[in-house]
């Protein structure tokens, strides 16, 4: 009876491990497939080209070197740093250049990173208050160096 119970437990654990492994593999495969999809690659390239066309020379130079660029908020003059990405990729910087908090907003829909960053730039540079009104904010935690909402 004890041996049967042990066998059952072992079988269950093995089945669980197999299921988790298969699930992880399928997610990784799906991600790889979408990243290598020529349609997605073309979309990303087109969006990045559009972004670069609309950046100032200084912003473009910064983005190509560091994968981020700075914008100045139209209403408060606050400096924001937009990092390459689509989510929680905007840092608000204080007058000393230090991180104050992070912001997350973007265009509705599943758009490429270039399109998202261009939308964030235009929104902050032309109507900062309206953009931040819809955004989610994350605060810095000096004790841990992490963020929370």
């Amino acid at each position: 009876m004890t041996a049967q119970a042990a066998l059952a437990v072992c079988s269950f654990i093995l089945a669980l491990i197999a299921a988790v492994t298969l699930s992880t593999l399928s997610v990784a495969l799906a991600r790889y497939a979408s990243a290598a999809d020529p349609i997605f690659l073309a979309r990303d390239r087109r969006a990045l080209k559009l972004l670069k066309d609309w950046l100032s020379p200084e912003q473009l130079a910064c983005y190509e070197r560091y994968s981020f660029f700075d914008v100045i908020g139209s209403d408060t003059g606050t400096r924001f740093r937009i990092h390459h990405g689509t989510q929680t990729n905007i840092e608000e910087l204080g007058s000393n250049g230090r991180l104050v908090c992070k912001w997350c907003f973007g265009p509705d829909g599943n758009l490429a990173a270039g399109d998202v960053m261009l939308t964030q730039k235009i929104a902050l540079e032309t109507n900062e208050r309206a953009a931040l009104a819809v955004a989610n904010r994350s605060y810095a935690r000096p004790d841990r160096g992490a963020f929370h909402r």
């Binding site: 609309w54 912003q59 989510q87 907003f105 509705d108 939308t119």
Partner: protein, 73 residues
Amino acid sequence: MATQIVMDRTGDTRHTFDANNLAAVAKAERRFMELTGAGFTAATRTGPGEQRVIRSFDPTAEETLFYPRLVGG
């Protein structure tokens, strides 16, 4: 030729039109109204790295960009 650039899941879709062609301009204006009515924001470039948001159709704008409404992430 003027261009209307609409951000979408393909990156963007571009519509070019001759600003001297009245029918083409009317069609572009209809597109502008439809997109802004659907929540898109329209912006034109005013200089290197500079832009302004426009609320009404500008037939003289060489390039008008439309992006979807903003949402919190």
